[in-house]
Assembly symmetry: C2
Homo-oligomer: 230 residues x 2
């Protein structure tokens, strides 16, 4: 019998990709407005992406690095303009995908709910809180706390143990085959792939990566779970 459903956060519960893109674009425009000499938005966006890839998305000084790359002296007005625009865009876009809240409300009547997420604990909690979803989950496990990332089996095992259930009684729901589906299956869970967004064209490379169900939208999840329960 299925007892618990675990969710990925980014691009599963909210549109993380669009948020990041819009926030970075808005930060670039704000930096230009604040006096940045380079005004080619596309060039700046490409450079910023390169910096984020190099230093990681949680590095706190992307805009300092941007100025360095452009050989522009450190400028607190320009950096602050980027930070503020990013923050404002974030607050505007941190909304659950349509259907997430009613779906979670419905599932909560039949299942324990949890989150298994790669990232920094406080950052991931900040997202859940800004999404107003922090009261929906019985357990939230982040890679920072466990010390390893999805698809490592350990992070799923920790989540399962915290709920006091068995892997076989759980379902993992996520948008990425390589992390959510592969990891969930390694831990003995059933898996549901939300096939949309930037990883929609991923393909299972082996039997361990084959999801038990594929949905195009989170609102199809209750129906998919009913089929898996049979």
């Amino acid at each position: 019998m299925l007892k618990a459903v675990f969710f990925d956060i980014d691009d599963t519960l909210y549109d993380s990709t669009t948020l990041a893109r819009r926030a970075r674009l808005n930060s670039i425009r704000a930096m230009i407005d604040a006096g940045l000499e380079e005004r080619d938005e596309e060039k700046l966006y490409t450079l910023l992406q390169k910096i984020i890839k190099k230093f990681g998305s949680n590095y706190p000084r992307h805009y300092d690095e941007l100025l360095k790359e452009l050989r522009i002296p450190w400028n607190p007005k320009i950096i602050a303009a980027g930070v503020v625009a990013y923050e404002h865009t974030k607050f505007g876009y941190l909304k659950p995908f349509p259907g997430v809240v009613p779906t979670l409300l419905e599932l909560r009547q039949r299942f324990k709910l949890g989150v298994i997420s790669n990232g920094l604990a406080i950052k991931q909690w900040e997202k859940l809180i800004n999404l107003s979803l922090h009261h929906f989950f019985d357990v939230v496990v982040t890679s920072e706390e466990v010390g390893c990332e999805k698809p490592a089996k350990e992070i799923f095992d920790v989540a399962v143990r915290r709920l006091g259930v068995a892997g076989e009684e759980c379902v993992m729901v996520g948008d990425r085959i390589a992390t959510d589906i592969r990891g969930g299956k390694l831990a003995g869970m059933r898996t549901v792939w939300v096939k949309k967004g930037k990883y929609a064209s991923e393909e299972p490379r082996s039997e361990e990566e084959r999801p038990d169900a594929v949905i195009g939208d989170i609102v199809e999840l209750p129906g998919a779970l009913r089929k898996l329960s049979r």
Copy 2:
């Protein structure tokens, strides 16, 4: 002839004291909502104030310290709840005092305008940007960049030099006698004390601390400057 007017930021251009108080109170309520075991708001507020005093307002881990003081294990949900509530309150309250924008618009037609502020450069710029005031000033000088704080004469001298004027041609406007008025006079400026808020009961302790004009609200500034110009 007066050529430039310099402003303090906190509690002069916006209501920094009320913002900080509301933001801290809202962060405490959010942490209680997120499961903080101690639920006495007044006790928590006092403890948080003590921590902010000890570590400084720019220290990034006040809520971690709060949990430590309460002997509660590190909890990313509670800390993130505090951070998010603080940020949301900040965005809501970071508005210029009534009258600031029309006053600055009016003064810009006759004077160069500047900011002289104690604090971190990026943090102070973030405030100006959130206040939508970052395009109003010809120069913004922060203590972080200069390496000393108001009332040190040097920080005023740097601001004056950047505008290419003399101290005697400038006016410093602020809410604090001990920093804005004393420092402005040390640098040879005229000074206008905005006598309101938590420092309204300050008294000049010597001739160097006696403001050239006292106003109760920023909208009185153009009139006060006209008198000083005579």
